[in-house]
Symmetry: C2
Subunit: 325 residues, 2 copies
Amino acid sequence: MKKTLIIILFLQIFFLSVSDTKKSVLAEDQLPSWDSGIREKIVSYTDMVTDPKNPGFIPESERFAVFDNDGTLWAEQPVIEELFIIYYAKKMIEKDPSLKNKSPFNRMNDFYSNGKFVIKDRRVFDEIVGIVHEGMTNEEFQKTAEAFFRETKYPGLNVPLEKTVYQPQLELMNYLRKKGFKVYICSGGESDFMRVISEKYYGISKEQVIGSELVFEYNENTNVMIRRSKLYTDNNGRAKAVNIYQRLGRPAVFAVGNVRSGGDIYMLRYSQASKYPSFQLLIDHDDEKREFLYSESDNISLEWAKKYNWNVVSMKNDWKQIFPK
Amino acid sequence: MKKTLIIILFLQIFFLSVSDTKKSVLAEDQLPSWDSGIREKIVSYTDMVTDPKNPGFIPESERFAVFDNDGTLWAEQPVIEELFIIYYAKKMIEKDPSLKNKSPFNRMNDFYSNGKFVIKDRRVFDEIVGIVHEGMTNEEFQKTAEAFFRETKYPGLNVPLEKTVYQPQLELMNYLRKKGFKVYICSGGESDFMRVISEKYYGISKEQVIGSELVFEYNENTNVMIRRSKLYTDNNGRAKAVNIYQRLGRPAVFAVGNVRSGGDIYMLRYSQASKYPSFQLLIDHDDEKREFLYSESDNISLEWAKKYNWNVVSMKNDWKQIFPK
């Protein structure tokens, strides 16, 4: 054991001695899918906050980054958690075919229009959400969600779900971790659903996932938690700012969200409450060819980006590659 | 920079080469305030879970420890957060003396009986709690609580509050961290109150504090959070088990609580839901001379300790030293 450690330490010395890379070269290697313009902004920020001689220096213990999930880390046309709801409802019908003729299951075909997944009636869908989430133990839920991720392909793209993750974001999260940042997810998605894949897809451990939370009932005799369909925390909008504070005890200095519903603007804005220099990225889905083209009816995210000086990322122009190969 | 790193690595090699300590000796050095009986149980557990060849091995990423705070990490006769409420109410009266004759402030003397702090009327006290917590920004609250910790001595013991922390627990938390555990607080105390001292007193960073939470209102124009006196999460009893799961995404394997109200039994019990070997410590306040003597009316904590095979720590017999020197 001790010998192994000594060998590892010698190897570290060896690599420290032979490496002579400049910062910019390193960044290009580490963020190859990012266009140089936005990459330089990221690098100049991290250079500043990691340099103890710079007035903008941030102690390592205070370096927190938060990423939204749907539309920021992976595709959201359709939202993957909504696919899971349909997946699970179908499993329920397989087990008990009589459900097929009962409400709300008898209206499930409504979600597909010309083979595309569209939620026309949100109330019917929410009814099914309630049924799916009600009464499972957390272990059962994990297994079910794991099976979903194994078995499902993404509509339209026809790839496994892991391949809908954005390559540039994988690079960015790794880059930030190397710079001493603790990287968190802060998403409207349900915590346990994201935790099933957060480590595998993103390298984010379960305790660094901030999401919407269901009410749980703990039974001390059986020592299990039962999931209830009632929301305890709806982690969207202003709640994202509040929950970041409740979880971290301070603002995160690096925040990444996307244009779609305005759901990330409070999270991005709140990073600017830090006493340290902060950095904001807003992902704009403007790449019809390689991903999806969509925007907001009220344009609020882009307006706030302008007002508060956030960096807007054009997927079309700023990302050389969208999905992992 | 690179040179310094190389020197540090050589020093590491040097110390690895000259050190030849046996595990038990090391534990005695690291847990000197613990009686050998309970210390051996702790060491044998950590030896097992950190040994990759042992079937009880726990990957480092899964090693979580949770400690209650009041009565587990520091004294709770009286509860320090209650002293803060009185401290702040007095500050309010200093600023506006007319409050002195108004309810509930005119009944504040009720809390002292023969110079001892006693809450006779919980409703009056709760009214004051509501007033104290209402409407401050989180920055204002932090500053106020910091001043309280600087200025306050603990009644009865007549020492600064930092000296009411239990020395054996400081040793235990350091020991666990060296063994790769992430150490969290899980307490009924309000999160922000504990976060003011968690790093300084315990070496626990703010994001590793799980506590009761107030409702916060976020204002995106001023970019501040306003504290409301309403509880969002009351982190006591069963809620401790649920909140550990919500925060960590799995049970903590090492749990420490104390006898007083039965408030920690669910937290201790829930650690046994882990798929890995777990360890429980229940602190019994049986040392009238060096600390305080108190128990529970229904004895439920000690009963569960017996039923579920937890380790009971007698402060009198198992702790050689109570407070730091």
